[in-house]
């Protein structure tokens, strides 16, 4: 895209994108680290996730302030407007994802006397969700709507894997009542992962709005693709 006539506005837009990516990087790291703490049984890592959540929250406030002043002072239009709107929404999803990672870390710390024995399904789920988060952030960074669509599409598999994990977890609980505490903590961790995936989908949907100007929320994948390719009109 051509440079903005007002150089300072161009700089502000660039700074806004960078801040979002910085926040996204912290969130992705928090999710990875929280799951490492679970799988490697490493309370130090869990504590680090909890301590670092403050940085994510601070970025949320800072980015909100940036978008507020841009709306008031620059009256952005078209692509700039869509970037600012997308940012306002993405920031909330990132902050929530950070909290969910913190929740995973918190659950891990509670497993001290009740270790989670069966972790392979959780590990599979985590890999899928982390990839989903990565796709959403990459799509934002490179303004790549196809990657964003891929991220949305991945949600089906994540949900399926989450359901399978829940069923499996339930069988462990039924087999051995002594596993109930660990099982409930595992269930909470799985739920948090699944919700982090949902937030990644929200982010990806906002990237598509930002890049193409289409609102594909709450429509099926086929309709979304038709909207984006222009085969279908918004009305």
């Amino acid at each position: 895209m051509t440079e903005h006539t007002i150089k300072r506005f161009e700089d502000e837009l660039t700074a806004l994108k960078e801040k979002i990516l910085c926040m996204g990087g912290l969130v992705e790291k928090a999710v990875r680290r929280s799951m490492k703490s679970v799988l490697q049984v490493d309370p130090g890592k869990a504590q680090k996730v909890i301590d670092r959540d403050r940085a994510i929250n601070a970025l949320e406030v800072e980015i909100d302030e940036m978008t507020r002043s841009m709306l008031a002072l620059r009256q952005p239009a078209a692509g700039d407007l869509r970037l600012v709107i997308a940012t306002i929404k993405i920031v909330t999803d990132l902050e929530r994802s950070g909290d969910l990672a913190e929740g995973i870390a918190d659950a891990m710390l509670q497993t001290k006397d009740h270790p989670i024995i069966h972790t392979s399904s959780l590990e599979t789920l985590a890999e899928l969700v982390i990839e989903q988060v990565k796709y959403a952030l990459d799509a934002f960074a490179s303004e790549d709507f196809e990657k964003a669509l891929d991220c949305v599409a991945k949600d089906k598999k994540v949900n399926k894997t989450f359901k399978a994990f829940q069923r499996e977890n339930l069988t462990y609980l039924m087999e051995d009542p002594r596993q109930i505490t660990a099982g409930l903590l595992a269930s909470a961790i799985g739920k948090n992962l699944e919700r982090i995936g949902d937030h990644a989908v929200n982010i990806a949907e906002m990237v598509i709005y930002m890049v193409k100007g289409h609102d594909i929320r709450h429509v099926d994948h086929k309709t979304a693709a038709a909207l984006i390719s222009g085969e279908l009109s918004e009305d």
Partner: protein, 256 residues
């Protein structure tokens, strides 16, 4: 490029030359009835020239030549038998600089209906003046000083007086060429509010340099560049997700 609503003006392949210079390169546009349509674009893009074609204001410019069709409800306004004076009672114009006649406020309104033989002086004319001033949202400010000169009013009031003068002969279409560029924000807001009310009865076409004004006040927006119509659509679409990259660049201030 058409809209779903009824079209008041239909323009087909409109070209215009100033001597050898082709200022408009074949513009097709439908202007919907009862809506505000805004023309935007950088200086020299042809938006004012195009607006002036819509009531034949370019006719008397030496060396100016127009080709193509401008249809007012299906009737060609460039047909040889069209009386330009009569045409302008259907398509009125408000200019950039408020230009009231150097006459009383009352006379500014009554003049055109009288010379067009629409009405003689008397109670009916008084009522018409009052209605026109009311529709232009200036009645309350001038009702006690109708005999004072129109030129004594403030800029914003003068502009609303000019709009009242246009309304007095009950046109179908009101063309506005940068009607607020000489006005302060409050006076501008009043004119924009007025446009919103007037579109119930009239079709309004406005040329503006102020993009935010186009965004605020219009239903449809047309973007012109170097004598071409680049993009035309619903104002919300143009300002949130324009289809053409050149429109995007202009709207977001990335132009030139």
């Amino acid at each position: 490029m058409s809209t779903d609503t009824n079209n008041k003006l239909t323009i087909r392949d409109l070209k215009l030359w100033y001597d050898d210079f082709e200022a408009l390169h074949g513009v097709d546009l439908d202007i919907p009835s009862g809506k505000v349509t805004a023309f935007i674009g950088p200086s020299g893009c042809g938006k004012s020239t195009f607006l002036r074609c819509l009531n034949r204001m370019n006719d008397r410019i030496p060396g100016c030549r127009v080709q193509g069709d401008v249809l007012l409800e299906g009737n060609d306004i460039y047909a040889p038998d069209v009386d330009v004076v009569q045409l302008r009672t259907h398509i009125g114009m408000v200019f950039q600089k408020p230009n009231p006649f150097p006459k009383s406020i009352y006379e500014n309104i009554a003049y055109a209906p009288r010379i067009h033989g629409m009405m003689q002086d008397g109670p009916d004319m008084d009522a018409l003046v009052e209605t026109a001033l009311k529709k232009a949202s200036i009645w309350d400010e001038v009702k006690d000083k109708l005999k004072q000169p129109g030129t004594a009013l403030s800029g914003g009031q003068q502009q609303r007086l000019c709009i009242a003068r246009t309304i007095a002969i009950q046109p179908d279409v009101i063309l506005m060429d940068e009607p607020c560029s000489a006005l302060d924000p409050i006076a501008t807001a009043k004119i924009e509010e007025l446009m919103d009310e007037l579109k119930q009865e009239y079709t309004i076409v406005i040329v503006t340099h102020n993009m935010q004004q186009a965004a605020r006040a219009s239903d449809f927006t047309a973007y012109f560049y170097l004598g071409d119509l680049i993009e035309y659509g619903k104002t919300t679409d143009i300002f949130t997700a324009p289809k053409n990259q050149r429109t995007e660049d202009y709207i977001t201030g990335r132009f030139g």
